[in-house]
Symmetry: C2
Subunit: 287 residues, 2 copies
């Protein structure tokens, strides 16, 4: 397991962590100021400054990317399926322009939440079938662009409105079905927030292996959690044994960035420099 | 599958649903008034009126019980383990006095939340081992009292602070380990709120079979969920396909009560009669 205590060379910042404090160019500048070498930007943040300007900012700052957030939301009724497909193709093109190593996929929950306007349903099994088919279709396009897809299993608390892939096992089942040869074209993005509770976690990380471990995200689970979406904790402030999970992932050969992604009304209310400074400290002591 | 549309003879009320509107005797009276035939009382509500008075109230009203809430909270540091054991033995004695068909077990999360004062830890795997051992110990006592134990898997959102048994598979693994002969001494209490998201749900219900299906609870998952503990929905107001789950449970031979358990700041703020009337309507139309 790598020693993170002496520096933060393997820290990547998911730009949602400071999305309220500044636009993408301001975040890129702050990362340069703090010696942060990599980011994972969100599409809406890229769109807000324009793709070309985002590409230039990242390049000028000498930043790497640890991913691109996000593709997915595959679940839709028939009237919204083309929209979903085209939207995901644009995500691939943007990720390619930005030099992202993979696209993180949040696959969607029930169609009415994933693609608003879709007909209301409670059929989560059907949603899961749609996800399988949607990933398969996107994978064809992404393979041609040589852009790996990283399915992110989301905590079961988001099964209805964000992602009906809720365990690492489920995500890997899709990978195995679509890419049995383990070509590297598809894998998983594991965020400790979503998976820490899973009794099968360690076994599934071993099953994933290096080929499928495309991204590793950290934050913490707070008790109590005051908001189901936007009360994620800074590493060390919650109950997740982050180091055990990182150790398991690295035991498989994962050697990439440890990406910090914190959706938090609390941290969004603090100055960007304070947040980044705290991220760096906690990366060294709690990750 | 039973037809619930014509009456509510298979409706049981978990008394937490109206815990803010009156004490246990008031709830028992209201159930009699509304033709509700069964309840599942909570220990704190029983204690508040006294066990003898609770027993008499239930008997005088001619009510059955569909369970007794709750035993468990097995996770504790060494200094709190005897307390946990004795507390659970008292729960068995109370359940016996009340004529409950089973005790619902909420097994506990990390020890510091399950048994406050216990040393702080992030080791959820160790907590799960403690749960296994704690259930085993309680089972010895409960078998002698001929009181079945019903392990309730709780939604992964409660893994830290309430229960580290978070899937039906996990609960059944404990049952199979402790009672391979399927004697009826141990099984599961399945609440749609906790399990609806699980991609393995239907397979695990089939695995459970009639022997292990000791209780069935209903409410609904709201989108958005405003409070992680106390914003459960009235059946029909959320995204859960309740009827599919009930159909699967009944296909295994479950023929007991459909117990309504709603923790909700919203419903706790309404008059008891309105809540019960709505429960009855929704039992007929949405369960």
């Amino acid at each position: 397991m790598r020693d993170f205590s002496r520096d933060h060379r393997w820290l990547s910042l998911n730009t949602a962590t400071v999305r309220k404090q500044g636009d993408l160019t301001a975040i890129v500048e702050a990362c340069a100021r703090h010696g942060i070498r990599a980011i994972d930007p969100w599409r809406d943040q890229v769109a807000a400054v324009g793709l070309e300007r985002a590409v230039r900012a990242v390049k000028d700052a000498g930043l790497e990317l640890s991913g691109y957030c996000r593709g997915g939301m595959f679940t839709a009724d028939a009237a919204h399926r083309i929209e979903a497909r085209d939207d995901n193709r644009r995500a691939v093109d943007e990720a390619k322009a930005l030099g992202a190593p993979c696209i993180v996929l949040v696959v969607g929950g029930l169609p009415q939440y994933s693609r608003p306007g879709s007909a209301v349903t409670k059929d989560i099994a059907a949603a899961r079938t749609q996800v399988h088919d949607g990933v398969a279709e996107m994978l064809d396009y992404a393979r041609r662009a040589k852009l790996p897809l990283a399915i992110e299993p989301l905590h079961p608390a988001y099964a209805a409105d964000r992602a009906c892939v809720n365990t690492t096992r489920q995500a890997l089942d899709i990978c195995d079905a679509l890419d049995p040869a383990r070509t590297g074209a598809i894998g998983v993005a594991l965020d400790v927030y979503h998976i820490w509770w899973d009794p099968e976690l360690m076994g599934q990380i071993a099953r994933a292996g290096k080929d499928r471990l495309l991204a590793f995200h950290v934050c913490d689970w707070l008790v109590p959690t005051k908001d189901i979406l936007n009360d994620r904790g800074m590493m060390g402030d919650g109950v997740i044994d982050i180091r055990s999970v990182r150790s398991a992932v690295e035991a498989q050969g994962f050697a990439g960035y440890s990406e910090i992604e914190i959706f938090s009304n609390d941290w969004w209310g603090r100055p960007m420099d304070e947040v980044l400074q705290t991220c760096i400290e906690r990366h060294r002591t709690a990750v």
